[in-house]
């Protein structure tokens, strides 16, 4: 374990800013991390966490995100993607990767036309075979065989990258499912394909379908379903619900769902969403004291540290961890859209939590605690005050923030008078309108009687 001495000294100096000085920032030790911040992102280690199609998808995503300015990492990612694809049967993806590489990795990594054609031929043959088998089963009307036939079709399409067809095939097995095991198998396959396709509404519906089966599910399956549900909520920006789902995942899952998600991801997603949306008590009970989730957090010690820092008001170090993680998180296929929002929410919560216990706060000290300038800090605070998240006023001359508690009595009087005036107005106009309608009605009824 290497202690990070450079960054801890300035933290010790901030005795007034961050409370507990003795413990301070010096105690933070960063254990050996799989993912190192900045451009030392270890692609091999990252990719080894996953298997199957998601590995390829993630590698391609990283390559896209890197762009041309970080070509070393880009090429590395593409090379690994190439190797992985060659092991499978997806010629479409193969062509894509070769285009992206564009010959930059030497002769080993160019278009292998022979291989493509062989794969396509094999695919044709297999498809025919499966088709024949399925027709045979269908004429025989043996439920189990038909189900297996459709399943095989689904697997076949999935391997070849035709996700839409795969999904349809899996869904067709529904009519031939007899036991709960079949249903669960169908749901899991459907969920897998939907996540790959990015259609998370299907994910949610199939998760609930799987959870509704009468038989008790085993731990691993439940955990998998929770992860899938959490992922769906994350993508639809329901961060609080996503956090709850991730936190409920059993640690026994381990790496068993790594065709979709790695345990490090569960820790990161769950930790960040919880930090952004939970209030203090929930954070303590559900995250910090949660023994199950602790197993996950051990895998990503930075997230654990940053949550603890936030809870104990060491905002500077918390924000520093966040900044270090940011580069890596932007390369994550599911999280990259949400990094900014989550980070903003966490920062706002930190600011609000900082000002909560005080009657007056010196903006100078607060700015150094958050490592920003006073004018930047003032802008952020003004936004929060206008949004009514902080009850305070700023003395811009002396740069002090004063807490302001609304005078309930005056407010009540004002409301009462206002309500009275409103009632007065409404009743008067109502009486007037009634009169008008009465006249109108009289006029009309008179004309009717005539």
């Amino acid at each position: 374990m290497d202690a990070d001495d450079d960054s801890s000294n300035p933290m010790i100096d901030e005795i007034y800013a961050n409370g507990d000085a003795a413990e301070g920032g010096g105690g933070e030790k960063r254990s050996r991390r799989l993912i190192i911040s900045g451009d030392q992102f270890d692609i091999e280690a990252y990719a080894s966490l996953y298997s199957g199609r998601t590995k390829i998808a993630r590698l391609l995503f990283i390559a896209d995100q890197c762009g041309d300015d970080n070509s070393a990492m880009q090429l590395e990612a593409l090379r690994m993607a190439f190797d992985e694809i060659k092991k499978g049967e997806n010629s479409q993806l193969f062509r894509e990767v070769v285009n992206k590489i564009g010959g930059r990795l030497g002769l080993d990594y160019t278009m292998d036309v022979a291989w493509c054609e062989a794969v396509d031929r094999r695919a044709e043959q297999k498809k025919e075979k499966l088709d024949n088998e399925l027709n045979a089963y269908r004429t025989n009307l043996i439920k189990e065989s038909i189900r297996m036939g459709y399943n095989d079709f689904g697997d076949f399409y999935y391997a070849h990258g035709q996700l839409g067809e795969a999904f349809k095939s899996y869904v067709r097995t529904r009519d031939y499912c007899t036991t709960s095991k079949h249903i669960i198998h169908m749901c899991m396959s459907a969920i897998l394909v939907s996540i790959e396709m990015g259609q998370f509404t299907h994910v949610t519906s199939y998760v609930s379908k799987a959870e509704q089966t009468h038989e008790a599910l085993d731990q691993i399956t439940i955990a998998k379903l929770r992860c899938a549900a959490g992922l769906a909520k994350l993508v639809s920006k329901k961060y609080k619900l996503a956090a709850r789902k991730f936190l409920e995942t059993a640690p026994e899952l381990g790496s068993q769902y790594n065709e979709v998600i790695a345990p490090q991801d569960i820790a990161t997603y769950g930790g960040l969403c919880a930090l952004a949306t939970f209030d203090r008590t929930e954070l303590k009970t559900k995250v910090i004291d949660n023994i199950n989730f602790r197993n996950f957090l051990e895998l990503v010690p930075e997230v654990r540290e940053l949550i603890n820092d936030f809870y104990s008001s060491h905002y500077a170090s918390c924000l520093e961890y966040l900044a270090n993680l940011k580069a890596n998180l932007l390369l994550d296929i599911h999280l990259h859209d949400h990094v900014e929002t989550l980070y903003d929410q966490i920062r706002h919560k930190a600011l609000i939590q900082y000002t909560l216990p005080f009657v007056s706060v010196d903006l100078q000290m607060m700015a150094s605690a958050f490592k920003t300038t006073i004018s930047e800090l003032e802008k952020e605070l003004v936004a929060l005050i206008t949004d009514n998240q902080i009850q305070a006023r700023i003395d811009s001359h002396n740069k002090i923030l004063y807490a302001r508690h609304a005078d309930q009595r005056n407010a009540t009087f004002q409301r009462v008078l206002e309500t009275g005036r409103g009632f007065d107005r409404d009743v008067r106009s109502m009486l007037l309108r009634t009169n008008l309608i009465k006249h109108d009605y009289n006029a009309r009824s008179l004309s009717r009687k005539l």
Partner: protein, 425 residues
């Protein structure tokens, strides 16, 4: 005897007791046509009659006298006659022939406008309206003419005194539209924006079967005053459900530029707002709303400064100028000073440091005046509630209502077997 002479004698003779007056009324109605035919001979007749005692007769003769086309010079002589009559006449007598009275007053209005001296008609019409009203809650056709003259003569305060009365009874819906519209304009002129909003709201939400131009114009002003006073306007919550369906559907279509203005106001970008006003100046000018629109722009600055009072305790004038997008601290100082004087914010300006210190509303709600104010508000609302209940009772006894309800009753009502199933009145 000359029929005219005979009539004059009858008027003079039968104007003392109510019984006589009703007989006189009948006679006058019969003689109406003949009076009209002899309009040229009527001015000496008028001299013989005293407006205060023989009001009814005077009125009929006056009506016949002024019924023809009147030129400008003639107007010079007739205006004082009518004015004198209105000031002196007897209220009960003229209430017997309200339409004639209204007609005469309208002619006064026309003549006064022809002479381009609307102020001459303000006083007389005020008296006329007061005399014609059955109660202070009654609206007469004269109210709208009176307000029109006030507007033209710029005597806003006189107009305001009539507007202070609440109106609950209306004879003709059309009177109400004009009354509320002109009333709204007078209140805008006096900067009583809340009252203006109430009046314009009445126009816009009044029951109407088809759209009329007054409602459209009123809606435009309603949007603008709403922006100035409340600082917001949402198209979705604009017209409440009780507004007529015609209004809800079609008013928007005629007021497009104003709705656009309101949307831009909602985005809180002053530069955009000013640019929009610049490009559409002509449209606003055609509707005579340019002054109001300029006030809308001004109100945006005010609102931004008010928002600052919520977030800052002290702020330098330079910062205020920057935040609110004014050009210089001097301008900011002028704005803040104006707002302090108008009572819109509570602050002190420290000129040495160039700082403004925002204070809390000093109203503590502990003074005697405040208690009295609250007490009178409570009394007022209780009176209103009583009125509401009374009206409810009145309607439930109303013949038309009962006949309609009776028709829709169920054939068999378990609770009251002995009640007839159908009301036939």
């Amino acid at each position: 005897m000359d029929p005219l002479e005979a009539l004059v004698a009858q008027i003079q003779g039968l104007s003392s007791t109510p019984g006589d007056i009703s007989r006189l009324h009948v006679i006058l109605k019969q003689a109406d046509d003949s009076l009209r035919s002899e309009s040229t001979r009527l001015s000496p007749v008028l001299a013989q009659l005293a407006p205060s005692e023989h009001s009814l007769g005077f009125l009929y003769v006056l009506d016949a006298f002024t019924s023809g086309q009147i030129s400008k010079q003639q107007a010079e002589t007739t205006v004082p006659i009518i004015t004198g009559f209105i000031n002196a006449c007897n209220a009960e007598q003229i209430r017997l022939a309200p339409e004639k009275f209204v007609l005469v007053c309208k002619r006064l209005k026309d003549q006064v406008m022809m002479l381009e001296a609307p102020i001459r008609g303000v006083g007389p019409l005020f008296n006329a309206a007061r005399k014609l009203q059955l109660s202070t809650e009654h609206l007469t056709p004269l109210h709208s003419d009176f307000l029109l003259l006030c507007l033209l003569a710029k005597c806003y305060k006189t107009g305001l005194s009539i507007l202070e009365d609440d109106i609950f009874e209306v004879d003709q819906p059309r009177d109400l539209f004009l009354y509320c519209y002109y009333g709204g304009m007078i209140c805008i002129g006096l900067k009583r924006f809340q009252k203006a909003l109430d009046l314009l709201h009445n126009v816009v939400t009044a029951p109407m079967s088809s759209l009329n131009a007054i409602a459209v114009e009123a809606y435009k002003k309603y949007i603008l005053v709403s922006l100035i006073h409340h600082g917001q306007w949402q198209i979705s919550t604009s017209l409440p459900k009780y507004a007529s369906s015609v209004a809800q559907r079609s008013l928007k279509n005629f007021c497009q530029p104003y709705i656009e203005l309101a949307n831009i106001y909602g985005t809180e970008k002053i530069a955009e707002l000013e640019a929009y006003v610049q490009t559409n100046t002509e449209k606003f000018e055609n509707d005579n709303n340019l002054g109001l629109v300029k006030q809308v722009v001004l109100s945006m600055y005010k609102r931004n400064i008010q928002r600052l009072t919520q977030t800052y305790l002290t702020l330098s004038l330079q910062d205020i100028a920057n935040t609110v997008q004014l050009n210089s601290p001097k301008e900011a100082e002028m704005h803040v000073l104006q707002m302090i004087q108008d009572g819109e914010i509570y602050a002190t300006i420290n000129q040495r440091d160039g700082m403004v210190r925002f204070l809390e509303d000093p109203e503590q709600y502990k003074t005697c005046e405040m208690i009295e104010h609250i007490d009178s508000s409570i009394q007022r609302i209780m009176a209103l509630s009583r009125k509401l209940t009374a009206m409810d009772e009145q309607i439930s006894c109303d013949q038309l209502y009962l006949s309609k309800v009776g028709r829709e009753r169920q054939r068999y009502d378990f609770d009251d077997f002995d009640v007839p199933t159908k009301f036939n009145i």
